[in-house]
Amino acid sequence: MARSDDVEHGLPAAAGDGVFAADPEVGRDLAQVDWAATPLGHPDGWPQSLRTAVSILLSSRFPMWMAWGPQLTFFCNAAYRRDTLGRKYPWALGRPASEVWAEIWGDIGPRIDTVLGTGKATWDEGLLLFVERSGYPEESYHTFSYSPLWDDDGDVVGMLCVVNEETERVIGERRMATLRDLGSDPSVVRTEQEVLSFAGRQLARNRRDLPFALTYLFDDGGAARLVGAAGMPAGHPAAPPLLPAGDPDGVWPVAALARGEATLVQLTGGPFTALPPGDWPDPPVQALVMPLLRQGGAPYGFLVAALNRYRALDQGYRGFVELTAGHIASGIGSARSYEAQQRRAEELAELDRAKTTFFSNISHEFRTPLTLIMGPVAELRGRLAGADPQVRHELELVHRNGLRLGKLVNTLLDFSRIEAGRMRASYEPVDLSAVTAELASVFRSAIDKAGLAFHVDCPPLDEPVHIDRGMWEKVILNLLSNALKFTFEGSIRVTVRAEDGSAVVAVADTGIGVPEAEMPRLFERFHRIEHARSRSNEGSGIGLALVRELIGLHGGTITADSTEGAGTCFTIRLPFGTAHLPAGAAASRAGAPAASAAEPYVQEVLRWLPDDGDGDTRTTAAAGTGAAEPAGAPAPGPAARARVLVADDNTDMREYLTRLLADAGYDVTAVTDGVEALHSIRREAPDLVVSDVMMPRMDGLQLVATLRGDPRTAAVPVLLLSARAGQEASIEGLQAGADDYLVKPFAAAELLARVRANVELSRLRTHHARWRTALVDSLQEAFFVCDEDGSVIEINAAFTDTLGYGPEGLPYAPVHPWWPDAESDPEAHRQVEEAFALLLDRPKGSYTVPVTHRDGHRLWVTATFTDVEDPVTGRRVTVGTFRDVTAEHYAVQRETARAALSTSLSQATSLPEALSGALDELKRLWHAQDVLATVFDGGDTPALTSTDGRLRWEDLPADRRGSLADLRERPPLTPVAEPTGASVLLEHPDGPLVLWIDLGEHRPFTDEDQLLLSLLAGHLAQGLVRAHQIDQQRETAIALQRAILGPSRLPEGFAVRYEPATRPLEVGGDWYDTVALPDGRIGIVVGDCVGRGLEAATVMGQLRSACRALLLQDASPAQTLMALDHFAAGIPGATCTTVFCGVLNPETGHLTYSSAGHPPGILARPDGTTRLLDDGRSLPLAVRPGRARPEGECTLPARATLLLYTDGLVERRRRPLDAGIHQASEAVQQGREVAIDELATDVMTRLAPTGGYDDDVALLLYRHPAPLDMTFPAESSQLAPVRKALRSWLGQCDLPQDTVQDVLVAVGEACANAIEHGHRHSPGETVRLRAEAFAQDLHLVVADTGRWKTPRPELNAHRGRGVALMRAMMQQVTITSGPSGTTVDMHTRIA
C-alpha cells in the first residue's frame, strides 16, 4: 500500500519501485539514490541480472551486501544495515564499495579482486575487522563469503557478500574463557600471594579485553600497595608500587576506591604516556578501576582494568570487569580467612600443649627442691630435739609449710597426670568401711579440738570395693578438711552404706553451707567461693575438683547437697565389682597399704584451730596423729639407708625383726609370705631380703629360686631364717641360691652382724647394677629388655609413666597387655603384631605403633631396639627404648587428613560431589558408621547428605533431629563430643551445615579428635565455597553454550533438546540447527564434534556458523558438507566431526540429505512402521577433503515423525549401536500420538541410562506437516481465506475427503461463532486457529479473546445448530469459556 504513493513520482520512480519492491524501507532509500550519477545509470535501464540480484538481496532476511559495476557500487539489505552498517546508512547506498569500507579495504579489497578475477567464491570465518560505524574504529568479527555476480552476458560484474557478524559471540567467548580460567585453579588452599599471581597469569592471557591490569591491596593505613601487574612492565609510572592514602594527586583515585566506588579513568598525559597497548596497535585510553569488594567490610583493594579502545564500555564489558574483580576479591577473601583459621587452630593446639607441659613441669620442678628442704628439716628436727624453743618453733614452721607445699604440688601433679591420661591407679578390693573409718580417725583429734562432734558410722559392707588406696585417701582427707574448714559448730558425720548395688559414702557437716547460686560451679577447678566464712582463707580451689576426678577414675560419682546456713553433705557412690575399671587395672590381692599422705592434711587442719592459746607454740604437730605415720617408718632419712625386706608369716617374729632392724637404722618393709615378698622386690629391689623358710603360699626356698630365675632379681641377696637346724637344711638353702642362712633361735647381735655383712657385700656387688638401674631410670625415654620369647623382663620408670604398666607385673609375656585389642581395633593390633615380629627377627630396627595405656587410652610410640648378649647368662636379649610420639602422630595425621580432604575437594566438580566426597573422607578417617551433613537451607526440611546415601531427614530419630537443629546455636567450628560421636557446625553456601559423625558405639572422641574435626570442618567450609563458585561458573558456561547452540526461534513442527553430559563431565560439542532458506525450505543440521567441554563447544560454534552460511549459499546438503570438509580441515579439533545435513521442503515433505558419518535419522510412519535414513552416507568431516559426497532423498509421509540425534542418545557401553537405534525408534513410534515437544522430553527420558547421560546429547524432532497456526481479525470476510489455508494444510495431511469436509465445517462453525459472538461488540479483535496432525488424530483449537454472550432465545436455533454440527463432525469437542476468552478444542480420529 505504501508503495502506491510512489506512483505520484512518475514513471522513473515507478520503475525503481519495481526493482526495490522487496523491502519497503531500504527500497525507498535505494529509490532515492541518484542512480543516474553512478556508472549503473537509471534503474529502468538496469540489466535483468542486476534487477534479480537486487531483488534477492532485498528479500533476504540474512545480512547481505553486494557491489556491482566498474566502481563496485554498494547495495545492502535491512539485516546488513541493522547488524553491520550502523551510522553509514543510508549514506553508503549507491557509493563505491571502496569508499564505504575504506577503513577495511586493505583487508577486503584483495578478496573482492579475487572473486572478480577468478569467478570463485571466497570464505572467511570470524575475520577481525576494524569498522568505523559507531564513530570509532570498532573491533568486529565477521564470517562471510564473497560470491561472483554475473551480468546477462555471463561476465563477472559484481559480487554478493553473505555475512554473519559474530562480534558478540567471539568477544563473549573470549571473556568467558578468562572468567573460566580465573575460576579453574584446582587447588583449594592457597596463600594470598598464590591467589594473586594465579589471577595475574590468567588476566595476562586476555590482553584484548584487558590490555593491562593492575591489582592493588590496601594496607592497614589505607595506602594501596601494588601486588599484581598483568601486561605492564615493572617500574612504569602508571603502576607505582605504593599509593599513599588520601593522596588527591595519586595516579589512581585511592580515596574513592576505598569507599567502594568504581571509577572510569581517562588515560591521558602524565604517568599515562607510553602505556603498553596489549594485543592492539594503540595503547588504551580509558581504564575502569574496580574496588575488590569485601562482604561487610572495606574493600581489600582495587583492580585497574585498562579498556580495549576498540570496544565501547557497554554493560557486557563493565560486567566482565566486575566479575573479574569479584573473582579476585573472593580469592583473596578465601585465602585470608583460611590463613586466619589455620593460625587460630595452631595457636589453640599450642596453648593446650603448653598448658599441660607447664603443669607437669612445674610440679616436677617443685618436688625436687621440696625434697631437699624436707630431708634436711627432718634431720634437723631430730638433731635439735633439745634445742632452744625458738629454734624448734621456727623449725616446726618450716616443716609444716613444707608439708603443705608438698601437698599442693602433689595435687597439681595429680591433675596434670589425669589431664595427660597418665594417672596410674592400682585398684584393689578393700573393705571400704574399714578403710574409710581408719582415714576418718586421723581427723578425730583435730575435730575434737575444734569443738565439733564427730560421728563415724561405718558398718562392714558385704562386698569389697575396688579402690586405689592413695587416691581414696585424698578423697576422704579432702572432704574432711573441707568440712572442718567451713564448720564452726555442730558436727561432722561420715557414713558408709550399701545402696542399690553401690557403696555410698557420705561426709556431712553442719557448716555454713553453699549458696545456691554457687552450687553448679562447686566442683569446678580453681573455683572458690568468695567471702565465705571459713577457718582459713588458704586454698587453691582445686580440692573438690580433684576429688571429683579421682572418683571418676573409680567409675563413681559425687554429688553435693547444701542448705545455706544449715550444712553440706557430699555423697559418693562407688560401684561394687570390677566391671567399671579399665581391663587389667584391678589387682586381685590386698597389697600393703600405700604410704599415707594424711600428715600434710592433718597438719594443715590443725593450724587452723586455736591451740592452747597459741597454735604456733605447739612442739610437735604429729603428736596427736601418730596413727597416720607408716608403721616402723621413721621420718625420711638420708638416701644411704639400706632397705631390708622382712618376710615372715609369724606376726610376733615379723614385728620383732622389724623393730630390731629399724632400730639399727635400716629402712624396713615387712610382708607375710613369699608371694608378697616377690611383688615387693619386683616393685623395688631391697638391699637385703630376710625371709623365713616356712611360709604359706610360697616358702623361702621357692622365693629364692624364683628370684634367681629372674634376671632382674637374680642378684638380690637373701638371708634365710629357719627353725630347721642341721647341715642338710643349710646346704639346701644355700644350694637354692640363698646368700646366707641363720637358724632360729638366733641372737639379735648375730642377726644384725649377718645383715650388715650381707648388705655391705651386696652393696659392693650391686654397685654396678644400681648404677645401671639409676642410669636406666634416669632415661627420658622408656626402656625395656625382652628375652628371646619377646617377654618384657625389665622396664624403667619412664616406661611405667608412658604405658601405666609397672615393674610389679614383670615379666610381661606376649601378647603384651598394652597391645590394642584384636577385637575392637584389629588394624592397630595388626600393626603391633607386625612390629613385634620385626623385633624378634631382626638384630636392630625401629617402628612406630599404636599401643593402649593401662587406663585404656590410645598412645603412639616410636621404638628402637637392638640385640645384645646377656654377659651373665649368654642368652640373646633385646634392649629397646621408645618414646611417646602421640602428639607428633596426631600432627601428622592432621596433615594427612587435611591433604586427603583437600584432594577430595579439589577433584569434586560440583558442590554436592564435594560434600559427599568430604563425608566419605571423614568416615574413613574416624572409621565412623555414618557421617551426615544437614544443611539448614531454609527449606521445609533440611537438606541431608550422608555416607549412607539412602538416609533421609525424616528417617532420623526425633532426638537426633532435635540435637542437630540445636547445634545451629553453637559457635561454628567448635566440635561437640557425645557418647556415640561428635558434631560440628560450619558454613555451607546454602546455609548453616551441621556435621554429625556417628561412631555408632561408645568410643571416646578425644581432644585430639576434636581439634582435628575443627580443622577439617574449617577446611571443608572453604572447599564448599570454592565448589559453589565452580558450580556457578559451569552454569554460566552451559548457559553460554546453549546461547550459541541453536536458533533462538524454531520453525513450526520442530522440537529440539540439548543435554550436557552428567555432572562429572562438562559441556560439549553437540549441536542442532535449523536454517530458514530464502526459498521457503528449511535446512536441518545435527552434528557432533569430537571432545567435550568449552573447547569442543568453540569448534562447534564455528562449524555451526559455517554450516549455516553454506546452506544459505548453496542449499544442497552434499555441497554444504563438502565445503564444510575444507573448512573443518583448517580448524584444530574439527576433524572427524559427524554431521547430518538435510534440506526439507515443508510443503511436500521432500527431504534431501547427506550424512558425514552421523548415525542415521529415524522416520516413524503413521502406520507404525519405521525407516532409517541411511542413504547419502559418507566419512566424517575433513577425513578426505575433496571427495564427493552422496545425497539421499525421501519424502516424509504425512503425519510421520523424523528423529535426528547425536550418538550420545543411543550409544551405550557393551551394547551394539543398533540396539540403541532400535530403542529410539520404538520410543518415537510409540509417541506418534504425542505432541512433538512432549515427545522430545519422552525420548530423552526413556533413553536416559541409569544415572543420566554420560555423553552430550543433541536431538531434533520434526513431524510433517508442521502445525497450522494462524491468527486473523474477527471478521466474517476472513472465513474464506482461513478455510482456504486450512484446506491446503489438510491436503498436506493426506486425509480422506470426508474427514477434510468434516474438519472444514467444524472449524468453520467454531470460527463463525468466535466472530459472531466472541467479538460482536468489539470488532477488530483476533481469533487464533491452530491445527496439529498426529499419526491417527487431528487436534484443532479455535480461540478468541472475547466473551460469548448469554445466548438469546431467537439465536438459539442458529447457535445450537452450529455447535451441534461441530459435535457431529468431531470425535470430541470441548468448549471452555472464561474471562479471557473462549476456546473450542476439537479432536477427530483419522480413519
Binding site: S1276, S1277, L1279, A1280, R1283, Q1297, D1298, Q1301, D1302, L1304, V1305, G1308, E1309, A1312, I1315, E1316, A1357, H1358, R1361, G1362, A1364, L1365, A1368, M1369
Partner: protein, 102 residues
C-alpha cells in the same frame, strides 16, 4: 470482502424456479442467498452442486424457506444436510461428484 458466491436464477424445464449457486456459503454472504430466495416466489429448486461449503448460517436461511425448497446437493454437503435435519423437511436430490441428480 465476502466469500465468493454466484447465484444464477433460472427455470427448470418444468417451469419451476431454479436458483444455481456456485462457490461457498457462510455467514459473510448469506445476505445474497436470502435476497435471491426472497426474489423468487413459490417452489424453488436450489442447485448446490457447485457449492463446496455450507455452514450453519447458510442452513438457517434454508430452514427459513424449507416449506418451498427442493435441493440438489453434492456429496460433500451430504453430512451437513443430514446432521442438521434439513433432509427431513426438504427433498434433497443427491448428485455424484460430476454427474446429474441421482
Amino acid at each position: 470482502m465476502t466469500t465468493p458466491l454466484t447465484l444464477t436464477p433460472g427455470r427448470r424445464p418444468d417451469g419451476t424456479a431454479l436458483l444455481t449457486a456456485v462457490g461457498e456459503i457462510d455467514m459473510s454472504n448469506i445476505g445474497s442467498l436470502t435476497r435471491a430466495l426472497d426474489d423468487t416466489s413459490g417452489p424453488v429448486v436450489l442447485d448446490l452442486t457447485a457449492v463446496e461449503y455450507l455452514d450453519s448460517a447458510g442452513l438457517n436461511v434454508l430452514f427459513a424457506h424449507a416449506d418451498r425448497l427442493e435441493l440438489v446437493a453434492p456429496p460433500v454437503l451430504a453430512s451437513v444436510l443430514t446432521i442438521s435435519g434439513l433432509t427431513e423437511l426438504v427433498t434433497v436430490h443427491h448428485v455424484g461428484p460430476d454427474g446429474p441428480p441421482a
